[in-house]
């Protein structure tokens, strides 16, 4: 029971619009890796340094750059022949390269077409690599899902294959899984755990709802992806049993004691319920900002999208009790709105939201912090 798109639901996001996009086209949020850099400075990767030499990764990126499927496949299978495990190749080569692809798109070095072609090559490589896995013992059944609203499936696909290679039966429900579909699936199949991928912290409220739903169905959740914060620090706040940065972490967490009892039932309560009224006023805030900021007609939908995401990030920050989430989001957004007036536009948006939300003390505080951060370069 995967998503009913007949094609393999592993397409990377195709529409990463660049400068040539038609006026008014919704600009899709980039796949995260370039943003909350999971391997950025100061980060200690829980499972140690990559097991694939940096030179090989560079060569692989070269293949992606040329959309050279044959060369990329040869590199990957060469590693397997030299004794690397499927997990090594997927985690330390394909996933690492995919992060770099995201960065190159974000920094404008690659066009959307290049990014898409590169992702397509990596998908094919994944197909070839997983053909090398032998069926192993059935250690249990795991369901893998991307948080509702997230469409980047290659990273999740890699997790699926690595966990499968470690002996688990994995069902991938696909990108953007609606909560009801997930719950219905859990009741039908009773898996041992759910692996939930969340790339953008602004989707943490939704991720939290999905975790609550899984807990309510008696299934513990292992969280993955940078959306759960640096070192996954917000994962347990929303009720997940653990958090992993890579597919290998997922295997490690699944192999540990995952007794359902402590991680099911009622989720830990949020520090503040203020995020509920804030989310309820989301559309109202979007319209208010559009009236106050009056962007040119072609940019109206883009600005509306920015505001909606910002309100999501604010709600998420309140939900997990960490204003830094909003601050980081605003800094990133300022970088994405590269048209020069991005910071000013964001400041206007923050100001209007702060005025509208004065009766909510946490919102006012978080928005104030975000404005201050925006005014001071990091």
């Amino acid at each position: 029971m995967t998503r009913p798109t007949p094609d393999e639901p592993t397409r990377e996001e195709p529409g990463r619009a660049t400068g040539e996009e038609p006026a008014g086209t919704r600009r899709p949020p980039p796949e995260d890796p370039g943003r909350v850099t999971p391997d950025g400075p100061g980060r200690v990767t829980p499972d140690g340094p990559g097991r694939v030499a940096p030179g090989v990764v560079q060569a692989y990126l070269g293949c992606l750059d040329r959309a050279d499927l044959v060369g990329a496949t040869r590199l990957a299978t060469g590693l397997l022949d030299a004794g690397a495990s499927v997990a090594d190749v997927l985690v330390d080569l394909v996933a690492v390269a995919q992060r770099e692809v995201g960065l190159r798109w974000l920094s404008g070095r690659w066009s959307i077409a290049q990014e898409h072609a590169a992702t397509h090559v990596s998908e094919q490589v994944v197909e070839v690599v997983v053909a090398h896995t032998a069926p192993t013992d059935d250690r249990g059944h795991v369901v893998l899902a991307c948080v509702e609203g997230e469409w980047h499936a290659l990273a999740a696909r890699i997790v699926m294959e690595v966990v499968r290679a470690a002996g688990w039966r994995v069902t991938f429900l696909g990108a953007s899984v609606p909560v009801r579909q997930l719950v219905s699936y859990l009741h039908q199949t009773g898996p041992d755990a759910v692996l939930l991928s969340c790339v953008q912290p602004s989707r943490l409220v939704r991720a939290g709802r999905m975790v609550e739903a899984c807990r309510a169905a008696g299934v513990p959740v292992v969280a993955g992806g940078p959306g759960f914060g640096p070192e996954g620090r917000w994962a347990t706040t929303v009720g997940a049993a653990g958090w992993g940065a890579t597919a290998r972490d997922a295997v490690r967490l699944l192999s540990g004691p995952l007794l359902a009892a402590p991680h099911t039932g009622a989720a830990p309560t949020a520090g503040s319920d203020e995020y509920v009224p804030v989310l309820r006023r989301r559309r109202e805030l979007v319209q208010l900002v559009l009236r106050e900021v009056t962007p040119v007609a072609e940019r109206a939908e883009e600005v509306a999208g920015v505001v909606a995401q910002l309100v999501d990030a604010l709600a998420a920050a309140i939900r997990i009790g960490d204003p830094q989430l909003l601050v980081e989001f605003v800094r990133w957004q300022a970088g994405v709105l590269d048209t020069g007036d991005g910071a000013r536009l964001l400041d206007d948006v923050l100001r209007v939201c702060a005025t509208a939300l004065t009766e909510h003390p946490r919102s006012a505080d978080h928005l104030h912090r975000a404005r201050t951060a925006l005014a001071t370069p990091p």
Binding site: G15, H116, S176, S184, Q188, A308
Partner: protein, 540 residues
């Protein structure tokens, strides 16, 4: 005016009458013992004589007649709480003005028993509440069984074991699932035929006989060790309870305590029986849900969009979102059949949504599946389909109709693909040309299955290599969302979105469109959505 200043000092109002003082002391429900500064007992009242008979005037309190009291005196704690002659005593010491001190000792045996009983009752209630909420979480049999064996450990037993029969027909050996204190999770397996016979009461419990659960010692339980952890050793006491449910026995719950742990008292047995009954009901509910879900899944599977076959000369992709999230079936559909020269494809929208629409969808798809064997020209096939649907029983009464696009692909002379499309009242497909422009292909025609005399139309369109034709249902363009949640997604946005992904493969185009519509909806409810993209393959 305060009472304190009005009242005379307390000592002035006391009569200097030793007899009265003695009578008052002896009338107290509390034991009173006084000592001189050296710690020797100077006075014991009547209650002290009863509770602490060892004490008499002249006895050294720090010596050993009452150990707990002696310890309190030696260590200077000023209080004690201990069993003495079968009574629970609690004492407190107050210094006397003349030196020495007075011990006031209360008999709290009954109070303590009530508190203990209350705490025990509270922990039982808490256990049942926890059990109720955990058993209520899942509707899945295995999950429920896992909860059943983890919950009683360690509160009620050191090992909990469920022996149950699989609901799969044809499996007659019982299965077991166990959780032992300290193990990372439940483990299970198939039980030997001997197991049931070897454990007294298990056969009865599995047959649902409401035998009174009763604990007994392990003399005959040799075969139980096969399902206990290797290091567990000899079980202490064992308690077997049937997991009764309305539909018959769901299994048997076996609780095992280690040797050395106290046996099951009557309240434990009562509690276990209650728990086993709740677990039985939960398993029965899960079984019932499992049957229904299986039925739904089988039907759903036949109604879900199909896997698209490979078709020479074209690449295809379909996208589908149903209005309801949990069953994922509805009134929109697409279908692709390979033909001798290319493909026959269809995309349609049955009026209505949900299961009712899905059933009619199934009928339309089934009819197509059959009719295409005798007719593959789009216009003629649509006419046939119209007659077939119109002739079907109740069609008129239900006044259900379908809008449809039905097309064929065949290789074009110029290396591209020739597409012929017949239509029945469906939104016009869009073509993404090689130069990035978006062109509407007007098809027309009337909805099918509604009128016997309906007329249909057919058009032909050529796709150069890399050009893409998108057929979609009105669920796409009529998706209401945006900042005000009432604006339709509209053909304008659809065209813009298509232009922004011109040149990408169909699966990427479909995913991008689904994502855009999803974001546009932003959680608002929507009608069924279906899309089918047909792209003339690049000769390279």
């Amino acid at each position: 005016m305060s009472h304190a200043s009005a009242r005379p000092p307390a000592d002035q109002s006391l009569p200097a009458d030793p007899q009265l003082a003695r009578e008052l002391l002896d009338g107290l429900a509390e034991a009173v013992v006084t000592t001189d500064p050296a710690g020797r007992v100077t006075l014991v009242n009547a209650m002290a004589g009863r509770l602490l008979p060892e004490l008499a005037p002249g006895v050294d309190l720090a010596a050993h007649p009452v150990p707990a009291l002696a310890r309190a005196v030696t260590e200077g704690t000023g209080t004690f709480d201990a069993e003495h002659h079968g009574r629970r005593l609690r004492g407190v010491c107050r210094p006397l003005a003349a030196g020495g001190c007075a011990w006031y000792v209360r008999d709290v045996t009954d109070e303590q028993a009530r508190t203990d009983a209350l705490l025990a009752e509270r922990s039982r209630t808490a256990f049942l509440a926890r059990a109720g909420s955990r058993l209520g979480l899942s509707l899945h049999r295995e999950q429920t069984l896992r909860a059943t064996v983890t919950l009683p450990v360690p509160y009620l037993a050191d090992v909990a074991l469920v022996v149950h029969r699989s609901p799969q027909p044809g499996e007659d050996l019982p299965h077991w699932l166990r959780y032992a204190d300290g193990e990372p999770g439940p483990v299970g397996g198939v039980a030997s035929r001997q197991l049931a016979g070897a454990v007294p009461g298990l056969v009865e419990a599995l047959d649902g006989e409401s035998t009174d659960p009763s604990p007994w010692l392990d003399a005959e339980l040799a075969d139980l060790t096969a399902v206990l952890p290797e290091t567990f050793g000899r079980p202490g006491t064992v308690l077997i309870s049937p997991m009764l449910s309305a539909g018959g026995p769901a299994g048997a719950l076996i609780l095992v305590r280690r040797a050395g742990r106290a046996g099951f008292d009557p309240r434990d047995i009562e509690l276990t029986r209650e728990f086993a009954a709740r677990a039985g009901s939960a398993v029965a509910a899960a079984d019932l849900y499992g049957e229904q879900a299986h039925l739904a899944r089988v039907l759903q599977h036949s109604l879900l969009p199909p896997q698209l076959p490979p078709v020479p000369g074209v690449t295809l992709a379909g996208g589908y979102r149903s209005a309801g999230d949990s069953l994922r079936i509805g009134g929109d559909f697409y279908e692709v059949f390979p033909t001798a020269t290319g493909a026959l494809f269809a995309l349609g929208d049955v009026c209505g949504k949900g299961v009712g629409a899905a059933v009619l969808t199934g009928r339309v798809r089934q009819s197509l599946q059959t009719l295409r064997l005798v007719e593959q020209r789009p216009h003629e096939l649509v006419q046939l389909l119209n007659r077939a649907l119109f002739d079907s029983p109740d069609a008129a009464r239900r006044s259900q109709f379908t809008t449809l696009l039905l097309g064929t692909t065949e290789p074009g002379s110029d290396g591209g693909v020739r597409v012929r499309i017949a239509g029945g009242g469906h939104p016009s497909p869009l073509v993404v040309r090689a130069d990035g422009s978006i062109v509407e292909v007007r098809v027309g025609g009337m909805p099918i299955g509604a009128f016997a005399t309906a007329t249909f139309a057919e058009v032909e369109v050529r796709l150069a290599p890399g050009e893409l034709l998108l057929a979609y249902t009105d669920g796409v363009t009529e998706a209401r969302g945006g900042s005000a949640a009432v604006e339709m997604f509209g053909e304008h946005r659809l065209r813009q979105a298509l232009a922004s992904v011109a040149g990408l493969p169909p699966s990427a185009v479909i995913d991008w469109l689904l994502q855009l519509v999803d974001e546009w909806l932003d959680g608002e409810s929507h009608d069924d959505i279906a899309m089918l993209a047909v792209c003339a393959a690049d000769p390279a």
